[in-house]
Every structure is written in structure tokens, then in C-alpha cells.
């Protein structure tokens, strides 16, 4: 015999703890028969009544979960928040850390730009692993009903209410992204400048001779600027000390650039072979002047702007 009721019982009992299976089976069968009888007594035919009764009882897995008092959630409200906090905490730095280490190791082995790929891949794997194992741990805690002593919440845990910040997060992010892009460009143009000679070989825009000192020095200044942006955000507003550091960093970048441009050492001499316009000394002077003036203008404008902000925020 394999009626719908038999199949329904089998589906329900499958996930009910074994010791009570037989008893639940007899009771549930009797209840279903009673319910069907209630409908046939009022004139319904048996097949329709059975169908309707089983539909009313609903998904057998849900019913079984109710019998077993089992939770129909992976992580419930008791642990969800702490799970989320831990996950965020771990994901903020571990994948990036591991990815960076892998990249550095690959670079040390002389893989050049091929080192970025494995670094990113490893970082993503680490993120997936962290998420999986953390979630699994919490799902097990949720199911074993282990009484984990979560620290009680107290008012002392309240974070300091955010004061109106003089330095918006968006500005900090934009500034850091700009600096990273610039560092990336300085490095990338050596290998991939999209300017090619007649043989299709890549021509760096900047003089490769600068790699002996000036380009690394400029990159160091840019990295220091990125760190400065983060520190500035933590401080939360402009101070005259921050202004001083900012001015120093600006000078440390723009003065070498201006000097190199004036002494015609910035651009790759090979470019002149590719573009005849650049071969002319006068033209090179004009280009140098444009670079000098625009660098100086940007630097001065930035310093004036910063000075105004600092005065307003320290007032």
C-alpha cells in the first residue's frame, strides 16, 4: 500500500528523531484519518479529502521540524549579530594581509606584474574560507544549543556619537584612490604606456633612468601621502600640524617634478625619436613649462584651499 498518506508519513518521519518515530507515526496517522473522516462525513469523496487534509498539514519537512523542535534557520537572532561582527572584523584585514604577503613573495621571486594575479586569487580564497568556517561554527552552536556566555550589553559599550566631521570619509577614500592610481600609473607606464615604437615595443613615458632614484622617491612620497590621508581622517579635522605635514608632502612631490621638468630629465628621450615634434628643443621647453606651471598651480591651489579649511576648523 502506498497511499498519499503513507508517502506523507514517510516524508515527515524521515527527519524526526528515531526514538519517537513510531509513536509520532501512529498518532499522526490517526489524526490524518480523523481529519479525512471529518471531511468524508460531510459528503466529500475520499481522494479529494485526503489531498486537502495533507495540503492543510503542509510541507512535511516543516511539520517534522516542529515535532523535533528544530530550528529552520542557519543562524538565529541570538548569534546573528556577533557572527556578523566577527565576519566583518576578520574580512577587513585577513584576506588583504594574506594576499599582500603572497604578492610580495611572488615579487621577490621575480614574477613582476604576474604577481598580482595569485595575490588576488589567494585573498579571495581566504575570504571564502573564513566566511564558510565561521558560519559553520555558528550554525553548529545554534543547533547544539550550547549555552555560550555572550557578554551582556552595557551602556559603556556605546560608541562615541560621531561629531560632525570636518573630513568626510568620501574625500579620504577619493584622495587615497587617486594616490594609489598615481602610484600604479608611475609603475605601469614603464611596462605599458600605450606608446609603441615602430617595432611595436613599449616606450615608457618617463625617463627610465629616473628609476635609479627619483621615481622610487616620488612613490615613497605618494605612499606617505596616502598614510597621511588616513591619519587625517582619524584625527577628524584639519589642524595646523596636519597642514604643515601636508605642505611638506606637497613640496616633496612637486619640487622634484618641477626641477626634473626644468632640466628636461622628466620625459623619456626615446619619445623624441618616435614623435618628431618632441625632437625640437623649443617644443620640449614649452612642454616642460606646461608641466612646471600646472604642477605649481595645483600645489599652490591645494595649499591655499587647505589653509582656508584649517583656519575655519581650528577657529
Amino acid at each position: 500500500m502506498n497511499t498519499l498518506t503513507d508517502r506523507y508519513l514517510a516524508a515527515t518521519l524521515r527527519s524526526v528523531p528515531a526514538p519517537r518515530r513510531n509513536e509520532i507515526a501512529s498518532e499522526l496517522r490517526a489524526s490524518i484519518d480523523d481529519m479525512i473522516e471529518g471531511r468524508t462525513d460531510s459528503g466529500q469523496d475520499a481522494a479529494t479529502a485526503e489531498r486537502e487534509v495533507l495540503t492543510e498539514l503542509g510541507n512535511p519537512d516543516v511539520l517534522a521540524a516542529r515535532y523535533a523542535d528544530r530550528r529552520l534557520q542557519l543562524i538565529g537572532p541570538t548569534y546573528y549579530l556577533i557572527w556578523l561582527r566577527l565576519l566583518k572584523l576578520l574580512l577587513t584585514f585577513i584576506p588583504a594581509l594574506v594576499g599582500t604577503i603572497v604578492t610580495v613573495v611572488e615579487v621577490a621571486e621575480g614574477k613582476g606584474f604576474g604577481a598580482i594575479g595569485p595575490g588576488v586569487a589567494v585573498a579571495m580564497q581566504v575570504a571564502v574560507q573564513i566566511t564558510f568556517w565561521l558560519t559553520l561554527t555558528f550554525a553548529i552552536i545554534e543547533r547544539t544549543q550550547t549555552a555560550v556566555d555572550l557578554p551582556e550589553w552595557t551602556v559603556d559599550q556605546l560608541p562615541v556619537a560621531p561629531v560632525r566631521r570636518g573630513i568626510p570619509l568620501a574625500d579620504t577614500i577619493a584622495a587615497v584612490v587617486m594616490l594609489v592610481v598615481t602610484i600604479g600609473y608611475l609603475t605601469l607606464q614603464q611596462f605599458q604606456s600605450w606608446v609603441r615604437d615602430t617595432n611595436g615595443e613599449n616606450i615608457p613615458i618617463l625617463d627610465p633612468a629616473l628609476w635609479s632614484f627619483w621615481l622610487p622617491a616620488l612613490i615613497v612620497v605618494l605612499v606617505a601621502s596616502a598614510i597621511f590621508e588616513v591619519v587625517k581622517y582619524r584625527v577628524g579635522r584639519w589642524t595646523w600640524t596636519l597642514f604643515g605635514v601636508k605642505a611638506l608632502l606637497n613640496l616633496a612631490f612637486s619640487v622634484p617634478v618641477i626641477w626634473l621638468a626644468l632640466s628636461d630629465r622628466l620625459l623619456n628621450p626615446t619619445l623624441a625619436e618616435r614623435f618628431s615634434w618632441l625632437a625640437d628643443t623649443d617644443n620640449r621647453d614649452v612642454l616642460g613649462a606646461i608641466i612646471v606651471v600646472s604642477t605649481a598651480v595645483i600645489m599652490i591651489w591645494d595649499l591655499v584651499d587647505t589653509a582656508i579649511k584649517t583656519r575655519r576648523q581650528t577657529a
Binding site: 509513536e23 509520532i24 501512529s26 498518532e27 499522526l28 490517526a30 489524526s31 484519518d33 480523523d34 481529519m35 471529518g38 492543510e56 498539514l57 503542509g58 516543516v62 511539520l63 516542529r66 515535532y67 523542535d69
Partner: protein, 113 residues
């Protein structure tokens, strides 16, 4: 106009605990699952079968109900009855239900307690 969904959710919340109270009261006279379901429905406690049957088992596990198999009728049925423990808990629940009713009435009439 309040949306039907919102109304239904609130009614469900309001009714949730009363099913336990109603079952404990009704089972002062022993009864089996389906008959209890009918009696509760007749008395204005509509309850889903898939909620009531597991609930009876849970109350039994908690010692608030006792059960006994009756094999005299056409099919064997499990009869539940409110235990002594269940009775004393029921009294506490009924007191609280009455207190809720009193408080609501007080609030409606604007009388300070």
C-alpha cells in the same frame, strides 16, 4: 486603511500564546488531537493542525500534559490530559491573561492604577 498583511501579523502575534492556554483548559477533559482541534475551533480558537499536533507533543515533553493510548474505538488514538503541573501553570497563565484584560480596560477608560 491598514493593510491586510499587517493586520494578520498582529492578530497572529496576539493569538499565539492563547492557543497554549486554550489547550490546557480544554484538556481538563481528556481528548485526542483532532477532536481537540474541533473543540478549539468551535470555541473561537481557530488553530492549524500542523501547529496543534506538534504543540501537544511539546507540552507533553514539558510535563504539562499526560497522555494515554485508547484502543477501544475504531482506531487507536492518543488522549491528552492536563497534568497537575499543567494545571498550576494554567492558573498562572489565566491570572496573567486577566491582568492583561484589566490593564487594557484601565488604559481605555483612562484610569490610573
Amino acid at each position: 486603511m491598514v493593510s491586510e498583511d499587517v493586520l494578520r501579523t498582529h492578530l497572529q502575534e496576539l493569538r499565539r500564546g492563547t492557543v497554549v492556554v486554550a489547550s490546557l483548559v480544554a484538556l481538563r477533559h481528556p481528548d485526542y488531537g483532532y477532536a481537540l482541534l474541533q473543540r478549539l475551533t468551535d470555541h473561537g480558537f481557530p488553530v492549524d493542525a500542523n501547529t496543534l499536533y506538534p504543540l501537544l507533543r511539546r507540552l507533553e515533553d514539558q510535563g504539562l500534559l499526560t497522555s494515554e493510548w485508547n484502543t477501544e474505538e475504531s482506531r487507536p488514538r492518543k488522549f491528552y490530559r492536563t497534568s497537575d503541573e499543567g494545571e498550576s501553570m494554567l492558573n498562572r497563565l489565566l491570572d496573567d491573561l486577566a491582568a492583561v484584560q484589566t490593564s487594557i480596560t484601565g488604559l481605555i477608560q483612562g484610569v490610573d492604577r
